[in-house]
């Protein structure tokens, strides 16, 4: 029996999400958005709720 040739799964590394994203706007101002960190999520989450997505 011919052996099934295993193809090595390519490990595509995703880029890391930044903690803060800052963008310079067309009018020269800067706008920043901050990632809500796992510790902040833990503090704000009610364990009685189940994730829907």
């Amino acid at each position: 029996m011919e052996a099934v040739k295993k193809t090595k799964k390519k490990n595509v590394k995703k880029a890391k999400a930044p903690l803060v994203v800052t963008v310079k706007t067309a009018r020269g101002n800067t706008v920043s958005m901050k990632q809500i960190t796992p510790s902040e999520i833990k503090a704000l989450r009610n364990p009685a709720y189940k994730y829907l997505a």
């Binding site: 880029a15 999400a17 706008v31 958005m33 809500i36």
Partner: protein, 177 residues
């Protein structure tokens, strides 16, 4: 709280001309026989969806997204909006969402645009129903804005910069002074 929403229906899907969003989906639901709500979900480029809603009785009010109805049904109404977001996500597996917790405007009350009541409630809801395994949560309390980014994005930083730039180009009022 937030256990069940109202039954909703998609009543219209438009491709508007001369607007910054590429498509809009109009849903409706009823909280009672007489009270109807309209939900508009705007689809922007890169599969970014923005849900907005108002009671249909306020359709001619320029502040229709900012009123309080005193119906005391907020949790079921908000859960319905989540169900609509999930409906959109089912049909667009790479969908991301953005929203603004608009400042309340009433006859005797005008809220500031930072850290609004809506922003505080919606943020809590997002964190409780959208898992960090599948979503990146970003916010800016100064402008009461929130981005729920789908983790399917391979380059989240580039994607975020593109989305923030797009929204600040369209809505200059999102720039904090």
């Amino acid at each position: 709280m937030f256990d069940a929403g109202y039954k909703f229906s998609l009543i219209q899907q438009n491709t508007p001309q001369h607007k910054d969003w590429i498509r809009e989906y109009i849903f409706q639901f009823r909280t009672s026989a007489r009270k109807r709500y309209i939900v508009i979900v705007e689809e922007y480029p890169s599969q970014v969806f923005v849900p907005k809603f108002y009671p249909s009785s306020e359709k001619n009010n320029p502040n229709r997204f900012a009123v309080l109805t005193d119906e005391y049904k907020a949790s079921r109404i908000i859960r319905t909006i989540i169900d609509i977001m999930l409906f959109i996500y089912q049909k667009n597996s790479e969908a991301s969402f953005a929203w603004l917790g608009i400042a309340t405007i009433m006859k005797n009350k005008k809220e500031g645009k930072s850290f609004t009541q809506r922003y505080r409630i919606y943020k809590n809801v997002m964190l409780n129903f959208f898992s960090e395994d599948n979503w990146l949560h970003y916010d800016d309390y100064v402008t009461s804005t929130y981005l729920l980014i789908n983790k399917s994005q391979q380059e989240p930083e580039q994607f975020l910069k593109k989305v923030i730039k797009m929204f600040t180009d369209i809505y200059p009022e999102l720039e904090s002074e």
